[in-house]
Symmetry: C2
């Protein structure tokens, strides 16, 4: 019997030696890379004088030279024993970066956390011009000026409040009744905003395509403006994109000119929040996305929908991965992915 | 004896149920946040016309409104059983972002990976104007134009090659003999570059101070331009900053005007690579940093140095956390931190 206890302790010790901790994520590896882009050389620009310290004499700076531009940044967390058959790539929308998917503005775990806990290797990227992908000089490299989204536009466009309901004073803002967005954290959310350009689509698509070639086979979960890039990448690499979860996607390639048959093996799920019918902007977009979905189905593809109000879940905003019920939505997405045979 | 085996299996099963995997990082939590910054309102700017799709009619865009600006972004990985008594904060240098510390340009694990494996909770941040902290409109909010570092400047200033040794063609670049920098990955490194401003120091300091108040007590590992911010934060919050590892720091507050006695409880280690004497820029900086260190020691503080050439380690560049021997350097840093009583 003494041996019995020795063996038992051996088993427990083996676990302890592996540094194991109940409830901890078993992470094989974290890391990041830049992918895509191109080398450019600037010439003929005048020297600039720069003042580094107030009062100090200006220093001459020559802006000419070689640069690497139009890259995409991705960061990954790979699990020791993933249950997802492929990594899950989280692609952000317009005026935002990969931070969309990380900890929510109210400090609660976001979709990155949820999908890691659900057993997926998770990749979070910043597209060309955003975040750690950075941006390039204009008009020499980028062809136009950037624009910065004011808080009011985010408040209204993202269906947190109706048009005209934004106020500089947080106490005076009128949110939609029953909104799931953590309204008290709206200004914290506004800290995530990133300037955007209207003229970089080709460069952004090229960088996403390079990313798909490097990181996939994969599942893509894509938000808003990112939709168009994900659908295009899937059309180019249908063998690499194993599924697309289209979270309130706002664009897609022209259905008249694409070959939907190429997407037959790429199951897609559209996820929509609440209050879409209150905004002409959103009814236009949902109609266009629905047309794309119907064409996909007609071509023999899988085009499913998760309409949250149909589940009786009211008040979800455009930023539904930040809404109070974000975990419950992610769980439905995870179930759909499992149904497509994408989990072990 | 049947019971013995049952108990043994029970121990092993308990480990398995905890999802344990040998060699995996036991991660309690990953997450991120923006901290610091201020709300600004822009008024009186003219409307702009933006073309979103080539050929489409321009859309009117009103750039006026409320914005959150001058924030700092931090991402953390917290371990289930950290050996470091405090989290380790990694602060980047000029023209770069937190990516400095992640996977190296040659694809090998960087200092973030090393310090996680060494048992530290690791935080990686992007300061004001960089990466996911993003930037603000100029000249209305930021007071000057940004500048973009050409590859040539990085090649020379970071002591990968001597002045005049850069060429657009990678095959024609002449690196310093015996350099530890992974020269074949220099263009990949250039993809990490981020525009910088010369007029944001006060805003950056304010955001770092807010970060220290939120994330500390902590240890700060800081590179190059970041040094000045870390020393200033330590002067303000000497109880929160438990140590500073100053990796080739290029600036510090004026030693004539600061009270070094406040830093007595903040041990510091300066880490220097090779070939400094070949560059007047670097001999000036090392002299200034050495003066700061001597004043710290004279005031009763701890100011240590890790001069890599003294260990017989030749060829380390300014980006020594990306050099081929980066793990060996990180190990020495870890040993020094342990000697300060900062590990369990």
């Amino acid at each position: 019997m003494r041996n019995a206890w020795k063996l038992a302790l051996l088993g427990i010790a083996a676990a302890a030696l592996a540094g194991c901790s109940t409830g901890a994520l078993q992470v094989a590896d974290v890391g990041s890379y830049h992918v895509g882009g191109r080398a450019v050389t600037l010439t003929g620009l005048p020297e600039k004088e720069l003042v580094f310290t107030p009062g100090a004499p200006p220093l001459k700076f020559d802006p000419n030279g070689d640069f690497e531009v139009e890259v995409l940044y991705a960061r990954y967390t790979r699990l020791a024993n993933p249950k997802g058959r492929y990594p899950l790539l989280l692609w952000h929308g317009g005026g935002l970066s990969g931070v969309t998917w990380e900890t929510k503005p109210d400090g609660q775990p976001g979709w990155e956390n949820h999908f890691l806990r659900a057993g997926w290797d998770v990749y979070v990227s910043d597209a060309v011009e955003r975040g750690r992908a950075s941006w390039a000089r204009y008009p020499e490299i980028f062809k136009s000026e950037p624009f910065f989204r004011p808080k009011k536009e985010g408040w209204e466009l993202f269906r947190i409040g109706e048009t005209g309901s934004y106020d500089t004073d947080p106490a005076k803002r009128r949110a939609l009744p029953g909104t799931q967005f953590p309204v008290a954290s709206f200004d914290q959310f506004a800290k995530q905003a990133i300037p955007r350009w209207s003229t970089n689509d080709a460069a952004t698509q090229a960088a996403y395509d390079a990313y798909v070639q490097k990181a996939c086979p994969c599942v893509i979960v894509v938000h808003s403006q990112g939709g168009n890039f994900a659908f295009n990448s899937a059309l180019k690499y249908p063998d690499k994109v194993k599924a697309i979860v289209a979270v309130e996607t706002s664009g897609s390639p022209n259905p008249e000119t694409i070959d939907f048959a190429r997407l037959k093996g790429v199951p897609m799920l559209w996820v929509w929040g609440d209050n879409l019918e209150r905004y002409p902007f959103w009814t236009r977009i949902t109609a266009q996305q629905e047309n794309f979905r119907q064409r996909l189905i007609a071509a023999g593809g899988t085009g499913d929908r998760l309409l949250l109000p149909e589940l009786g879940w009211r008040g979800n905003s455009h930023m539904l991965m930040m809404d109070r019920n974000s975990d419950a939505i992610a769980e439905r997405v995870d179930q759909w992915l499992a149904k497509q045979g994408l989990k072990r």
